[in-house]
Amino acid sequence: MAQPLVKKDDDRDDEAEYSPFMGIEKGAVLQEARVFNDPQLDPRRCSQVITKLLYLLNQGETFTKVEATEVFFAVTKLFQSKDVGLRRMLYLMIKELSPSADEVIIVTSSLMKDMNSKTDMYRANAIRVLCRITDGVLLTQIERYLKQAIVDKNPVVASAALVSGIHLLQTNPEVVKRWSNEVQEAVQSRAALVQFHALALLHQIRQNDRLAVSKLVTSLTRGTVRSPLAQCLLIRYTSQVIRESASNSQGGDRPFYDFLEGCLRHKAEMVIFEAARAITELSGVTSRELTPAITVLQLFLSSSKPVLRFAAVRTLNKVAMTHPMAVTNCNIDMESLISDQNRSIATLAITTLLKTGNESSVDRLMKQITNFMSDIADEFKIVVVEAIRSLCLKFPLKYRSLMNFLSNILREEGGFEYKKAIVDSIVILIRDIPDAKENGLLHLCEFIEDCEFTYLSTQILHFLGIEGPKTSDPSKYIRYIYNRVHLENATVRAAAVSTLAKFGAMVDALKPRIFVLLRRCLFDSDDEVRDRATLYLNTLGGDGEVVETDKGVKEFLFGALDIPLVNLETSLRNYEASEDAFDINSVPKEVKSQPLAEKKAPGKKQPTGLGAPPAAPPTTVDAYERLLSSIPELASLGKPFKSSAPTELTEAETEYAVNVVKHIYDRHVVFQYNCTNTIPEQQLEEVSVVVDSSDAEEFGFVLSKPLRSLPYDSPGQTFVVFEKPEGVPAVGKFSNTLKFIVKEVDPNTGEADEDGVDDEYQLEELEVVSADYMQKVGISNFRNAWESLDADLERVDEYGLGPRESLAEAVNAVISLLGMQPCEGTEAVPSNSRSHTCLLSGVFIGNTRVLARLQFGLTGPKEVAMKLAVRSDDIAVSDAIHEIVASG
């Protein structure tokens, strides 16, 4: 036995010094592990050795393959012992050693025996170990026992099987999905523990089946769920169901809201929080729905437990982003949290207050924050800086005090991320608040005088080059910029040279002096700096007389590079040095990756700082336009009138994911199929969509543009063009089949085989509807716009909409049929109302403005009638709108 353990009794008195593992060494412990091979096993001694092995592993020690195998084989001998404690250690050790597939076989039969043992503890543990080390083949052998275990009357055994199922679902989903019936039975278990795990597993099994999840939620919200944890899960699943059914039932009472509200009165805090969060995250949540949730959260703000205070303030902070007014009631409690010992809580409280505060409270808040900033870490400071930036954009009149605050903290100590956050904020304020510009630029100039971060210096210099020349006195920035040429590293010097040149190009009065400065840069020690100075002097005319800089020169020097950098890089790599110079026009402008903004997570949209170009970020429409105009066949069609949102043509999690965007032109319709190949072992080539338009008589096929290659997980687009009568809102259904050549990809080299096989894949149908011809264009004053249109061009008619679930459902149906923009919030129908007026506006194909006034009324039980009045610039369009409603 190791020395420290022998010493144990002698050293009892000296508690502080003593450790049973003192001087422990892997080699020695591995030697000790030989006791596992003794014919007469000593359970106590074996347990001690296993403890040491565990201690080593928990200290981050690793075993080599040979060592692990040796220990594993030795450990398997311990199955001979009947000692319960040792058997438990044995299970743990096997899991720790993660035996390889060929070793597993040694213990399988022993574990299977234990799995059917009469001792509950053996059964549960053996299940967990087996599931941990098993592979697909073995799993099918033990599946029968696992199914039995799920419905075992001992909750621990059942839970062990269920939790193992959750893990196995990742590796062997098809097997676990077969256990659905047993899991369903376990959901009804009387044991809270089993119910919780069963619910988690059942949801994972069915997560892609919306209807099944909805049924599960409906039945469980009516019954009683025993464990608070299961209740939390149920709340999460309920929110998911509410989200997915949101489109069908807006306006009226929200389904399951009563359940969520009831959970706010649950005895477990965890459940209360879960329900409150679910309510605050409901889409389009009303203040009436929010109130009960905010009230319980407010109570937790003064809880004695930091975890609860943190949870409450964190949730309220999130609510404040979307519904600041709803949180103002909590401001007093929140202010007392600024002095909370826990800095995370204090930061959240501050940032919440910054979001909910009004203009008059800004100065007071800033004072509190100044004291607070010095004793928090950088990561919290960044959060505060971002909150101050938003506050300043909200109350531009307060820019002076907020900008001063930012410049003060910019001078203090701090890391790169923190400084970058401050600089980004100042830049955004300069861009958005004209009055703040000169003041802000000077703060930035002072900052680069003593800035240790090259990245920030160059970015600020670039920004100065854009904004500085437009100020009332550009000359005052020159000194700051030129100082950089003397005092900085080559990267910053080069940036400073470019900035100087920009001033020269844009401010003629400064030109002669700028040329003097640039000429001095010709003697710089760095070639990039010299090259830039030479280029600028030559193109701006530094060697001749001072003239206004040509627009073309400005564009050449400072214009944006209108080519995706990835494409440029590829072209440059492929370029072989020869007589012919590299031609930048040969670089394709087509964006290779999918330009769809909606593919990204709907995360918060933050204003970008220095990193982004000064123009507004491109919208999805811009991205489409750029994409379409980069393809010669499509560029000739002109500019699309409207591009629809993408419609999925495949189920989730299929081999190939395809969605379609409909681009509507005056005489054409272009279907853009966005395809993604989700199989790593395949590469698709010559991908196209064959469209059958027999149910769309007015459309005639023009061309199809296939996608040359579609590697794994790299989305690409293929297009199909149809023509249609000019200006006519033709409708029809199209069936689609994806055609391609599939090639196997070698997993080692990543290269595709030369030979491929033709294959096709059936996609869902797509439909061109009337709403595709309508742009949603909102107006601020409907009445004025309505009256500005000629009353003679008005068409009025009445329609019976038949039995409807609710008035709100009828209103939404008509809005989506017409595809117009609801105005003045009239799309929201108050609950229990018996009549409603909805105002819509839009631009119809042919650029015709259209306004519609819809009056709905309930005529009988659930029978809805509608009076529709349409005005537009063209009577034919007013008629067309009526036709759409009549045929819809």
């Binding site: 450790s19 049973p20 001690q48 919780f196 944890l229 975890v307």
Partner: protein
């Protein structure tokens, strides 16, 4: 996801650590971050007083029990409330095994039993069940 469970002694030496889905190169960073967090805040803390912190989108709940410090780290559904439950179960079982808030010595004396219990925590019938899932996530 529950990212880590870490138990250290009062001077920051690691006694038990479990990472889940944390790349090996980031573990050292987490270890030192947590130990520093403990050194800054746990010095005068009462037994089982819970502390909470968030670092980017990750939550940390930590506490002190006798001579040892416990940290649990999670993200997404393992927010501060779920982590508080988890740490409550862990401290509860350690107290059960050591009979009282442990000294470092009693903790190490019972080390094997503590490892077992952390693995099989479900045997304590009185305990909330989340941790079973939590710990199995780490172990299985």
């Amino acid at each position: 996801m529950l990212l880590a469970v870490l138990i250290s002694n009062s001077v920051g030496n690691i006694l038990v650590e479990r990472f889940n889905g944390v790349p090996a190169e980031e573990r050292l960073h987490w270890r030192s971050f947590l130990v520093k967090l403990g050194a800054d805040n746990l010095k005068h803390a009462k037994n089982e007083e819970l502390f909470v912190a968030s670092h980017k989108s990750v939550y940390i709940v930590y506490t002190v029990l006798g001579d040892i410090c416990l940290y649990v780290v999670g993200k997404d559904e393992y927010d501060e409330l779920a982590l508080a439950e988890a740490i409550f179960v862990i401290t509860g079982s350690i107290k059960d095994i050591c009979k009282k808030p442990p000294t470092e010595r009693t903790f190490l004396d019972k080390y094997g039993k503590i490892c077992l219990t952390l693995d099989e925590i479900v045997w304590k019938v009185c305990i909330t069940f989340l941790c079973f899932l939590v710990l199995l996530t780490l172990r299985n």
